[in-house]
C-alpha cells in the first residue's frame, strides 16, 4: 500500500471506494470564522480529483485566500472536514504540516523567493528541506531549471530577473519535489499579460503529466482562454462550479 493510501485508510475511508481514491482535496461542510468574527467560508463542499486543473475565481474578500490557506494547513476550519492528500487538516499536528507541504508545490503572486539565495539555491532549498542527498540535488535542480527555460540564470539572484522569470523560478521550486498538487495563488498578478499566458501554459503542461493544479485568479481572459473547471467563490460560498463557466464582473 502506498504512503498516501495508508494515510487515507487511517482517516477511516475505504481506499477501494473510487470516489475516495480520486479525491485529492475534499471539503465537507467547511466553515471558517476568524477570531475577529469575520465569516470567511460558510458550509463549503468541494472535491478536486487527482489530475484535475481547476481555476478558483471570485472578488477579493470572497474567501479564496482562506480556501488556499486551509489547503496549505495555515488555517484550520472552524467546522467541517478538509482532506488534502490524505491529511485531515482539521486535526493535523504542527509537526505534520511540513510533510503536508512537501506533498504540494505553491506559487504566489509575489513569487516569494529568498532574495539572499541564487536561483539555483532557491530551487534546491525545497529539496534540501526534505533531506534529499546532495548528489541527487545537483542532478535534479538543473533539470527542473531547464524545464522552465532558466538553466542559464541558475547563478543569478532573484532580484536580477524579470517578474516573469522570477515566477518561473517559483514554479521550478514548486515542481522540484514532484508534488501531486500545485497551488498557484494569482501567479500572474504581478507579471505582464503576454507572459501570463506563458505561465498558465506551463501549468497546463505540468497538468498533462498528471499533476493536479489549483489556480486562483482574477483574470477573465485567462479563464476564458483555457477552458477548464471554474470554481466561483462569493461571500464565503461556492456559487458555481463547472467547466468553462462565465462569472459576473
Amino acid at each position: 500500500m502506498s504512503e498516501r493510501a495508508k494515510r487515507i485508510t487511517r482517516l477511516g475511508h475505504n481506499y477501494l471506494d473510487p470516489e475516495a481514491k480520486n479525491a485529492l482535496i475534499r471539503f465537507s461542510g467547511v466553515s471558517k470564522v476568524y477570531p475577529n468574527g469575520t465569516k470567511a467560508l460558510k458550509d463549503v463542499n468541494l472535491k478536486i480529483d487527482d489530475g484535475e486543473f481547476a481555476f478558483v475565481v471570485g472578488s477579493s474578500g470572497a474567501g479564496k485566500s482562506t480556501l488556499i490557506k486551509m489547503i496549505m494547513g495555515e488555517e484550520r476550519p472552524t467546522k467541517g472536514i478538509i482532506e488534502v492528500n490524505g491529511y485531515n487538516i482539521s486535526r493535523i499536528k504542527h509537526r505534520q504540516i511540513p510533510k503536508l507541504r512537501r506533498s504540494m508545490g505553491v506559487v504566489f503572486q509575489d513569487f516569494r523567493l529568498i532574495p539572499t539565495m541564487t536561483v539555483y539555491d532557491n530551487v534546491a532549498f525545497a529539496l534540501r528541506v526534505t533531506g534529499v542527498n546532495p548528489r541527487d540535488i545537483r542532478k535534479r535542480v538543473p533539470y527542473i531549471l531547464g524545464l522552465v527555460e532558466l538553466a542559464s540564470k541558475a547563478k543569478c539572484m532573484p532580484l536580477e530577473l524579470s517578474g516573469g522569470e522570477q515566477q518561473r523560478v517559483a514554479l521550478a521550486r514548486a515542481l522540484v519535489n514532484n508534488p501531486s498538487l500545485i497551488i498557484a495563488d494569482e501567479p500572474t498578478g504581478n507579471i505582464d499579460p503576454e507572459l501570463s499566458f506563458e505561465i498558465v501554459e506551463l501549468l497546463n503542461e505540468i497538468n498533462r503529466c498528471g499533476t493536479t493544479i489549483l489556480m486562483v485568479t482574477h483574470e477573465h481572459n485567462l479563464v476564458a482562454h483555457f477552458n477548464k473547471r471554474v470554481i466561483t467563490v462569493e461571500n464565503g460560498k461556492v456559487i458555481s462550479d463547472g467547466v468553462g463557466l462565465e462569472w459576473g464582473p
Binding site: R95, P98, R101, R102, I114, F125, A126, G131, R173
Partner: protein, 302 residues
C-alpha cells in the same frame, strides 16, 4: 535530520553572518559594547576588593598572656590558639623581644626604657595574630579571650568596622551595577536579534511553505547567533585586555605614597583573564544562541 542536512545548515548559518553583514556588524557592536561595560564593572570591583583586602590583611591583633602563666598552660595555649578560626599568621612575641621592638618605636626617647630590661620588664608575653576576615572580628576576639592563659586581646575594632563597611558597600554596589548592566545588555541584545529575525521573517515564512521543519529553519539562525556571540566575546576580551594593561602601566608609573600602595594591589590581567574570557564567551554565546532561538520561534507559527 540527516548528516548532509546538518552540514548544509552549519554552512548556511556561517554564510548568513556574511550575507546579512550590516545586521551582523550592528549585533556584534551592541553585544561587544555591553560586554565591555560589564567587564569594566567587574574589573573595577575586583580591584577595589583587592585593595581593601590588602588593607584588611595588615590588621593585627595582640593577644596578651597572663603574667602568672604556668609552662603547662603556656604550651597548651600555643596549641589551642592555632585552632582558632579566621586567623592568618601567628607569631609568638616573648616579652624580651617585645620590649626591644617597643623601645625602637620610641626613637630618640628610647633611653626612657633603660632599666626596664630583664626582671623589670613590665610587658607581658604576647602573640601577634593576623585576622583573615575582619567582618568576623568580634567572634574571633571572643574566641581568643576565652582561651586559658589569655589576659586580654587588643583589637582595632573601629578600623575593622569601617573597612568591613567599605568592603560590603563595594561588593553590593558592584553586584547592583553588574546586574543592571547585564539586564540592559540582555534587553538591547534581545532587541537587536529581534530586528534581525524580523527583517528575515519573509524568508522564514517562505521556508515554512516549502515544507521546512522548525528545526531546519532554526538551526542556521542558532549557528549565526552563536558565531556573532563568539566574535563579540573575542572583540570585547581583546579590548578589555589592551585597555586594562594600558591603564595599569600608566597608573603604576610615577605614583607615590598611598596611591602607589593601592596600585601595587591592582590585580594583574593574567590573573583574571581566564575567568573573564570564559565569562565573555559564555555570555556572548548564550545571548546569541538563546536570543535567536526565542525570536525565530515567534515566526514559525504558520
Amino acid at each position: 535530520m540527516k548528516g548532509s542536512s546538518i552540514g548544509y545548515l552549519l554552512k548556511e548559518g556561517a554564510k548568513n553572518v556574511w550575507v546579512n553583514r550590516m545586521m551582523s556588524v550592528a549585533s556584534i557592536g551592541v553585544l561587544t559594547a555591553c560586554l565591555l561595560l560589564i567587564g569594566g564593572a567587574v574589573l573595577f570591583s575586583i580591584n577595589v576588593n583587592s585593595i581593601v583586602g590588602y588593607v584588611e590583611s595588615q590588621n593585627e591583633l595582640k593577644v596578651y598572656l597572663k603574667s602568672d602563666i604556668t609552662d603547662d598552660v603556656r604550651s597548651s595555649l600555643d596549641a589551642n590558639i592555632r585552632k582558632v578560626a579566621n586567623l592568618g599568621d601567628i607569631e609568638y612575641i616573648p616579652k624580651e623581644k617585645g620590649i626591644i621592638t617597643f623601645s625602637k618605636t620610641m626613637g630618640e626617647y628610647s633611653d626612657l626604657m633603660a632599666g626596664l630590661e630583664g626582671d623589670q620588664n613590665p610587658l607581658p608575653d604576647a602573640y601577634d595574630v593576623k585576622v583573615k576576615d575582619l567582618s568576623a572580628l568580634n567572634a574571633t576576639v571572643q574566641a581568643l579571650q576565652s582561651l586559658e592563659g589569655v589576659d586580654s586581646v587588643a583589637a582595632p575594632v573601629e578600623v575593622a568596622k569601617s573597612i568591613t563597611g567599605i568592603k560590603n558597600a563595594v561588593t553590593v554596589f558592584g553586584i547592583i551595577v553588574v546586574a543592571i548592566l547585564v539586564l540592559v545588555s540582555l534587553i538591547i541584545t534581545a532587541n537587536t536579534i529581534k530586528i534581525t529575525v524580523y527583517n528575515r521573517r519573509k524568508e522564514i515564512n517562505i521556508m515554512k511553505f516549502v515544507g521546512a521543519t522548525d528545526s531546519f529553519i532554526r538551526l542556521p539562525f542558532i549557528i549565526e547567533g552563536t558565531i556573532l556571540g563568539l566574535l563579540s566575546a573575542l572583540l570585547a576580551f581583546l579590548a578589555v585586555w589592551v585597555g586594562y594593561d594600558y591603564l595599569l602601566s600608566h597608573l603604576t608609573q610615577g605614583a607615590a605614597g598611598w596611591l602607589s600602595l593601592a596600585y601595587k594591589n591592582f590585580v594583574p590581567f593574567d590573573q583574571v583573564a581566564m575567568k573573564l574570557f570564559i565569562g565573555f564567551i559564555g555570555a556572548g554565546v548564550v545571548s546569541g544562541m538563546f536570543g535567536s532561538m526565542l525570536f525565530v520561534r515567534k515566526h514559525l507559527r504558520v
